[in-house]
């Protein structure tokens, strides 16, 4: 029963990440998503120290704020022209992540957080943390959190589909047409931060990037439209998370690690198939 819950949480996480992941790949922001997934940590910890409840929605807000802070600081540094964009990403996120790690090690190694679980995630723990209202058990809280995030992500993409595509493929044109590129950029980064923190339990801070990037990049190998890419990214995310789950069960290893490995395997197989087809054609 528990392992079924774990499987489902992994599945939901993978789907939630694959949706914004497609745009991250297309907008060439893969490394930015890595930086965001590190930077949400201090926000989570500080919010936790304030409310002292691990499943409070305030934690998601705190995380989103520190994710946005990272995006803002990176832009501030690279706009000053003193440092190039790639280096400014490498400057900001280790700093924010370090603050988070130090807070954990100083404040709460005895409480719910541990450096290692922040990294690797603790999917089994989140499968045990059920939503109970008036004594009625409605299943793991993670279901509801991840379900809402998937819904928010889908809504965001449906509502801003035109704007997202335009700013992704022709930013100059969209600027000329009067779209607010920067506003949309920050809105999208908010979505990425929220997704990163909701996936924290299952994937840990580092492996979120595997779920963001790899299924979307796999889909990018052969698809030609954004909708196809998102659909295939979700399919690959589902395949990777299910097979990764069983891989981890078989070897008795971390579920998040297994999912990341399977993401890589699925990518490799797809790349080989695409190449073989190209050679034959």
């Amino acid at each position: 029963m528990i392992s079924l819950m774990v499987l489902l949480i992994g599945l939901l996480t993978a789907i939630a990440c694959a949706i914004p992941g497609s745009y991250l790949v297309l907008r060439r922001m893969s490394m930015m998503s890595d930086a965001i997934s590190h930077s949400v940590l201090p926000g989570i910890i500080i919010a936790f120290l304030i409310v002292l409840d691990r499943s409070s929605p305030l934690i998601i807000i705190g995380a989103a704020l520190s994710g946005l802070l990272m995006v803002y600081l990176t832009e501030l540094i690279s706009r000053s022209k003193l440092v190039k964009t790639d280096a400014s990403i490498g400057l900001v996120f280790p700093g924010l992540f370090s603050i988070g790690v130090i807070l954990i090690s100083m404040q709460m190694s005895s409480v719910h957080f541990h450096e290692h679980s922040v990294l690797v995630g603790d999917i089994t723990l989140s499968a045990l943390n059920n939503l109970v209202i008036d004594g009625v058990d409605y299943g793991p809280k993670s279901f509801y959190i991840l379900g809402s995030v998937i819904l928010i992500n889908l809504l965001f993409i449906i509502i801003f589909f035109k704007e997202l595509n335009l700013t992704t493929f022709d930013p100059q044109l969209s600027e000329v047409l009067g779209f607010k590129n920067l506003t949309l950029h920050y809105l999208f980064m908010t979505i990425v931060s929220i997704t990163a923190v909701a996936s924290f339990d299952a994937a840990g801070s580092i492996l979120v990037i595997a779920l963001f990037i790899v299924p979307a990049a796999t889909a990018h190998l052969f698809t030609r439209t954004v909708i196809n890419m998102i659909i295939w990214a979700i399919i690959f995310a589902i395949i990777s998370s299910i097979s990764g789950f069983y891989l981890s069960i078989y070897f008795d290893a971390a579920v998040s690690g297994g999912i990341a490995v399977m993401c890589g395997v699925v990518f490799l197989i797809t790349l080989t198939l695409v190449k073989l087809k190209a050679i034959r054609a």
Partner: protein, 382 residues
């Protein structure tokens, strides 16, 4: 005093201090090249991808010898192999598919690191002796450095720094103008391999102290800070190595003296502090210097405007030498309002205008010439 005594005579503290200083120097020096080649984030990929190599090398050593001696040399070799592989794959991937550089780096980082975590957790849940130290490679723990670890860091650090001295000219040329270096007959492929290998070694020898996640900061931050103070490569490399030394040494000592404080984050925060100071206070490129320059520039523009206005009034009114104009008139001549009187007082101090009576001002001979020269050259200000 006791602390200084400890640095030289306490076994752990001496190892920590020595090891972290050397890795700070090496990472700082080669970080400058990674920074200038715009390969900062590739450092992040290499550091993360070293984890599966470390764990695999440990496992291999365990299966071959039957005992788990955590031989640093073997672990470093494993780390170097997977670090290189992931870098090689990520550049191959860009060539053979439509995946862009950021995604190919992201894929390699995520999958290699995922494999590392997978293998690490696999070991953690089994009864293998000596497994506990592997965990330290994630966040770094300088206090676990042994004497032989320090020797390895020393040897590899010395080797890479020596190659930097010997091939300084070649490295410099290759970093700034690859094509020109190639046309002069330098083997650019060999040089590239040498530089990348040196950067990879600089990253790998820091992993035990700083950890795979934060090692990127050891490469990027000293270089970014050093860049603010100089435009010369040799100076930049020296400053960057010095910053790495200071942050590495003090961070390691702080974390070794406070319980449960991981080394990597402390060093990173010190580095960030040094970077912020550099970006604010450096005399040529710093933000505060820039701010002061801007204020001074605006001041000069205002002074010139007022002077030229006074000159225009004089010409249009065919004024005699001693007829002046009121500051109120000057105030109406621009949409952008600023303190005209203050500018007039400064101009008077410079001997360019003269106050006649009350609010009336007139150009001096010197001011007349200056205004004419401003109008003639059109760019020159006061």
């Amino acid at each position: 005093m006791e602390f200084i005594h400890d640095i030289f005579f306490d076994y752990t503290i001496r190892n920590v201090a020595l090891g972290s200083s050397i890795l700070g120097i090496v990472a700082g020096a080669f970080g400058s090249f990674a920074f200038l080649r715009r390969e900062s984030l590739a450092g992040d990929v290499v550091a993360h991808s070293a984890l599966p190599g470390i764990v695999l090398a440990f496992l291999l050593g365990f299966f071959i010898t039957g005992s788990s001696s955590k031989n640093s040399l073997v672990l470093i070799l494993g780390a170097t192999i997977t670090g290189f592989l992931s870098m090689h794959f990520s550049s191959r991937l860009m060539n053979i598919s439509k995946i862009k550089s950021d995604s190919s780096m992201g894929i390699m980082l995520a999958v290699f690191f995922g494999l590392g975590i997978f293998l690490l957790s696999l070991i953690q849940r089994r009864n293998i002796p000596g497994k506990s130290g592997l965990q330290d490679y994630i966040f770094g723990s300088a206090s676990t450095l042994t004497h032989s670890d320090v020797n390895i860091i020393l040897i590899f650090g010395a080797l890479t720094l020596m190659s930097l001295f010997i091939f300084w000219k070649e490295f410099k040329l290759h970093t700034f103008d690859r094509t020109y270096a190639h046309s002069l007959g330098f083997n650019s492929k060999l040089l590239d391999t040498m530089m990348v290998s040196s950067i990879v070694i600089a990253i790998i020898i820091g992993l035990q102290s700083v950890g795979v996640i934060l090692m990127v900061a050891m490469i990027v931050t000293p270089a970014a800070a050093a860049r603010q103070w100089t435009n010369k490569l040799s100076t930049m490399v020296i400053i960057s190595a010095f910053i790495g030394l200071v942050a590495g040494l003090s961070g390691a000592l702080i974390s070794a003296s406070v319980q449960k404080l991981p080394t990597g984050p402390v060093i990173v925060l010190l580095l960030v502090l040094i970077f912020v100071i550099s970006i604010l206070f450096s005399p040529n490129r710093g933000l505060i210097a820039e701010l002061i320059k801007n204020i001074a520039r605006k001041q000069r523009i205002r002074l010139s405007l007022v002077l030229v206005d006074l000159y225009q009034l004089k010409i249009h009114h065919n004024d005699d030498y001693n007829v002046g104009h009121s500051a109120k008139v000057l105030l109406t001549m621009h949409e952008q309002k600023f303190n005209v009187r203050k500018s007039l007082i400064i101009l008077a101090e410079l001997g360019l205008v003269r106050n006649m009576n009350g609010d009336v001002w007139v150009l001096t001979d010197k001011g007349l010439k200056k205004a004419e020269s401003i109008l003639l050259t059109k760019g020159e200000l006061i």
